[in-house]
Amino acid sequence: MDWLVDWIASLQIPYLTEPEARFLSHLIFASIIAVAAPGMLIILTWLERKIIGRIQNRIGPNRAGPFGLFQAIADMIKMFTKEDITPANADRVVYNIAPGLAVISSILVFAVIPFVPGFIGADLSVGILYVVAVGGFGTLAILMAGWSSNNKYALLGAFRVVAMLLTYEIPMVMALIIVTMVAGSMSMAQIVEAQSSMWYIFTMPLVFLIFFLAGVAETGRSPFDLIEAESEIIAGFHTEYSGIKFGMFMIGEYVHMLALAFLSAVLFLGGWQIPFIDITQFPGLVSAILGFLSISLKTFLFVFIMMWFRGTLPRFRIDHLQNIGWKFLVPLSLVLLVAVAFVVRLFAPGSSSAVPVVPGALSALGAPGEAVALLAANLLVLAGTVSFVSRMARRSKNRQLRAVAAVEPVPAK
């Protein structure tokens, strides 16, 4: 961001002072984000249809333009020119605000994504919390849409989705707290810096899994797509929406998905970092290009994984979904939180600054020791969970078998 400010200042526009140059650069960058994020919809929908087509042994869109690339544009034109029907019983104002709010909430996340070294919209010291807070508007939009449609299916769909979002937000926030603990900061830029020696996905694979699963649930995509359980609740909370307003919910979903992929890349795959190469040593433009390539690759890896999910996994049943959330992910994330807290504290280096800090018992082992201990803690918790869950599963199976045996007496020989 600084070099954009410097560049604008170097243009020597009359009367343009430092704060105004900064404001102007913010304006430019914000416009780019606000247009590019929804614009990615064109690539993402095309990619998704191609990938799922291949998974299902089809070709996917191949008529409009080379490789069907213009398919999404054709779809967009269609959505713009479709008649927009507002049900007579709907609450018109709330009905019209809801899709806009869904789009806004998902775009706002991009304010804190560090795209390349030193280039981040707003390096908030509370960056991680900001992401969670902005997500709340999306939940609100869904409730507003469901209520204002005045449709039984829409309302039911909205309730289900919101219940799911609330459930999965807890493990997600816990995973974010763990990342904050290890990085020692909530600022996105500093979290990326903290991963310069080791990406968190390697030291904390279980935390990443929790974060990613909960994140996919937050986007409401398959296999958590109760929103679109057509067989049960038609199209869920956007049953009554048509034309571009439906399209805006689509935009919201895909931008949310992209934001989640970016967040996963930043928080667990080291953001713009490239392994074994310190790209900040290169001159500005080269490091920017390399960094952007790196973060884009990682982002598209996660986008691909999400599409892969959609192509292969069946939808969860709602009671299973709630059970996985409350009885598995929440306790697991809390246990991990405590375990990681102890590891981090034990390896914390001491300091003798204004407030003296006693070094942790194992601080002599340094950062590599901490990484190994984190990995060990993750694997231990994983092993414990697996054995616990399998024991519970066996017990519940035995109970069911006994119940069956009690009902059907064994025929006498």
């Binding site: 009367y15 002072t17 105004e20 404001f23 019983n89 609450d91 709330v94 908030l124 010291s125 509370v126 919390l129 900001y130 969670v132 807070a133 902005v134 997500g135 709340g136 508007f137 939940t139 609100l140 409730l143 507003m144 209520w147 005045n150 309302l155 309730f159 919101v162 609330l166 909530m186 407030v355």
Partner: protein
Amino acid sequence: MPFEIPFVQIVWWAMTACAIGGAIGVVSSNNLFHSALFLVLSLFGVAGYYVLLSAGFLAVVQLMVYIGAIVILVLFAIMFSRRMMKPTEDEMNRQWLVSVIVAAALFSWLIVVVNSVSWPVTSAAPTADTVLQLGLAFLGSYLIPFLVVGVLLSAALIGAIFLAREKVEAEEI
């Protein structure tokens, strides 16, 4: 410099409009759902104030807890207890005179307090790492209140589950 755009003032006025307009909407709308949505606007304005006061952490907490959680809970409660599209009620009930008196008394008392206290204004720059200081304070000098908060939250959780379960079981009979 020929002109200077007073950004802070513009933001302040916008946030004030949000906060006060939202608050008026909350009490004047006769649709409960709309009231709750106006509450979002009002809370958002207050979050903006926190930003202007250099309390970024509080601002984000305001968004996360109030808009992300409490308003959702309020909306659930409204839908839980009223008929869907007609949650309309008369804004007035028998107690309107009492509430007007109480509100007026509270308001005038607040004005007196605000005018009589000499607010300490310091020109020192705000602390850079607020969140770090908060964390050190929570588990340092404010350890007992911190744990009391934990007990309070736990009590709230258990109490709420207890009451809600009662209601469910009562309905099923």
